[in-house]
Symmetry: C2
Subunit: 138 residues, 2 copies
């Protein structure tokens, strides 16, 4: 039997050393909107997607909520994720990153016509902004 | 000046001990489609989003491509991410996970009306399936 449909990725998590520092980076430079901030985490929206910033070592126990229990999770290292952007905004994004002193570490042109730029967040996580034409599904 | 728009999260990465084992889990049980498989990684699509499975320790050097260079990145731990599902598919997802011997570790009902179920992938990464009504933007 075929599985039901997964519509898309909804949430991506980063594990960070300082939630406030990371929140400031994603809010002020990248323009995400924070609408939930706790000691151990911050939830930011990028369109219909969520970027969750968790304090490293801050979510290693079950969390009891009125509606159920959240399982423990944690991570370390400098992981990678990507945001989708319109092709027409790429020059403005390059300018914005330059204006905020964020070096673009690489730029890749893909066979399908898209372009990706890469830069580091405050923990060294590798953030990518990708225009359409990177993957067969994008 | 306001930043340009980030449309959504495009790619989420997991760092895994055995790419083939993880690929089998996400393909056969969750129904994702793999369309790029290399020694060090596998790219799977979930709708317009990408789940990237990277071998732990397999992407710690720059990768040269015809169109540019991919920065190194890596991660460890048991991280968390979520897929969006339609509310009507929740019972079928529960049945499918049961049929494949994947225990649901928790179920949470959110104030906004959505439901999340949680289960572990082969590395212990905490996978969530979330119906609408979990976040103000979803």
């Amino acid at each position: 039997m075929n599985p039901p449909k997964l519509n898309r990725i909804l949430e991506t998590a980063l594990y960070v050393a300082d939630v406030e520092r990371s929140r400031a980076f994603y809010e002020r430079i990248l323009g995400l909107t924070c609408f939930l901030a706790l000691d151990r985490m911050c939830a930011l929206s990028a369109g219909p997607s969520l970027l969750l910033l968790f304090l490293r070592g801050g979510t290693t126990e079950w969390v009891e909520l009125p509606g159920g229990r959240l399982p423990p999770h944690d991570g370390s290292g400098t992981s990678h994720f990507a945001f989708a952007i319109d092709a027409g905004t790429l020059p403005a994004w390059k300018q914005r990153l330059a204006d905020h002193g964020v070096p673009i570490t690489s730029e890749v042109r893909w066979d399908l016509g898209g372009t990706s730029i890469y830069f580091d967040d405050p923990d060294g996580h590798v953030v990518e902004l990708a225009t359409p034409g990177v993957w067969p599904v994008y």
